[in-house]
């Protein structure tokens, strides 16, 4: 992980904690922008470090959200699903060793089909765990749908604005 991606990692975490924590569009669309940093790790990253990083990141966010464990649970789940989903979506020639699953390299259409289902799974687990025992699964489904859409939308915007397109090779 280069220095630049470490900075991105920390900045996204801070934005999540400081700004997006209190944001919920119409009370149902939450934004989990920090998931970008998990989604955008290079495709070649081994799963074990990815799982550990996601768990620690989720736990850090949890501490500020006062939802101890829930983010960690869902983020680990997302990190676990990611390699399988990447394999399913792999282009005909396979991935390069250095390629990143970002908009800049793969394009918007591919990115949506990559990110949205993963974020949706994250949200589904998150809201199910959040509302566990209340028996309002439909509500969780509703929130998951809108939250994942909102998150992916914001993730695309953020990447288009702030993440430079790589110009080499």
């Amino acid at each position: 992980m280069s220095f630049k991606s470490l900075v991105t990692f920390i900045v996204l975490g801070l934005i999540q904690i400081l700004l997006l924590k209190n944001l919920a569009l119409f009370g149902i669309a939450f934004c989990f922008l920090y998931l970008i940093s998990i989604l955008n790790f290079p495709t070649a990253i081994p799963t074990i470090p990815l799982l550990l990083i996601s768990f620690i990141l989720g736990l850090t966010i949890d501490v500020f959200y006062e939802t101890i464990g829930i983010h960690a649970l869902s983020a680990t789940f997302l990190a676990f699903l990611r390699p399988f989903w990447l394999k399913a979506l792999s282009p005909s020639g396979g991935y390069d060793d250095t390629s990143n699953p970002t908009i800049a390299e793969m394009g918007i259409g591919w990115y949506i089909s990559y990110a949205w289902p993963l974020v949706f799974c994250f949200c589904l687990l998150f809201f199910s765990a959040d509302q566990w025992g209340t028996g309002r699964f439909l509500n969780a489904l509703n929130k998951s749908f809108f939250s994942s859409t909102f998150t992916v939308l914001l993730a695309i915007i953020v990447q288009l604005i702030f993440f430079k397109r790589r110009r080499d090779i």
Partner: protein, 278 residues
């Protein structure tokens, strides 16, 4: 044995995933029990301070609203307090009329103010819609500010104490000697107390408060502190200069007070053919 390890090694990712999820679930469940996971919450010093910094920043943007709310809350509290504080004498009164709220308080904000003229006025952001009436007293947490002169639908104009035309009935706190405070038009930080007889022992440093005689202000609102006492030119009265307690350059949130019984008092004065000189 080796094959078992090989098998487990091939499943390492899944096993790690499962163990992490178990830890997370354990944390969730543990946190929901009262004693659980006390370390990982925002009462932790570092996280607490981070959240406080965050709320400090966000609170800053709602500061104006918060202030408004506080001021109006203060006004209602003052009304309650005044009702409670009216303690009967040792004489046996009918308590019901005595404990009536004689004064009603409202809160408002000054939206324009002047200091530099001899007839200074304040504009207030509330009017008849909010129940502001002509003749209400205006003060803030520091002391007396003025008196409402004209009222429109949404705004009102008050005569500032820094207006040579306004007399405020007041008294010295230590010996209850009363007089009228009037601004002489010179310094926006000082005013004069008139009509205090020469035999009175007025001390520098004594606090001047409203007397409650003129039915505009309740008794006990701060006006200022005596800064000098001298035998002036007038053979009957002392020349008393006081430092106003209100900083008129910074008046922003104010209270308005109305005497709900002033009409009754006025009609009583008319009936007994008196002019209320205060």
């Amino acid at each position: 044995m080796l094959r078992i390890f090989q098998f487990l090694y091939s499943l390492r990712v899944f096993l790690l995933f499962i163990s992490l999820e178990v830890i997370a679930i354990w944390l969730i469940v543990g946190n929901n029990s009262p004693q659980g996971a006390a370390f990982f919450n925002s009462s932790n010093a570092i996280i607490g301070s981070a959240l406080k910094t965050q709320s400090d920043v966000t609170d800053f943007f709602s500061l104006a609203e918060a202030n408004d709310a506080l001021v109006s809350e203060n006004a209602s509290l003052m009304q309650t307090l005044r009702r409670i504080r009216t303690v009967p004498d040792s004489i046996d009164f009918q308590l019901d009329s005595l404990l009536n709220a004689t004064y009603e308080f409202k809160s408002a904000r000054v939206i324009s103010n002047s200091l530099r003229f001899s007839q200074n006025h304040l504009t207030i952001n509330k009017g008849t819609v909010d129940g502001i009436k002509v003749g209400m007293g205006v003060f803030n947490h520091e002391g007396i500010v003025g008196r409402v002169k004209t009222v429109s639908k949404n705004y009102s104009v008050a005569i500032s104490l820094l207006n040579t035309g306004l007399l405020v009935s007041s008294k010295m706190k230590s010996n209850d000697v009363f007089g009228s405070v009037n601004w002489d038009g010179k310094n926006s930080k000082q005013a004069k107390m008139l009509y205090v007889p020469r035999h009175v022992n007025a001390k520098v440093g004594d606090t001047i408060i409203t007397s409650g005689f003129n039915a505009v202000f309740p008794e006990g609102i701060k006006v200022g502190i005596i800064s000098s006492v001298s035998q002036g030119k007038d053979p009957n009265y002392l020349d008393i200069l006081l430092d106003l307690s209100t900083d008129f350059s910074q008046v922003s949130y104010i209270y308005l007070v109305e005497n709900t019984q002033s009409e009754e008092l006025d009609s009583l004065y008319i009936k007994s053919e008196l002019t209320n000189e205060f």
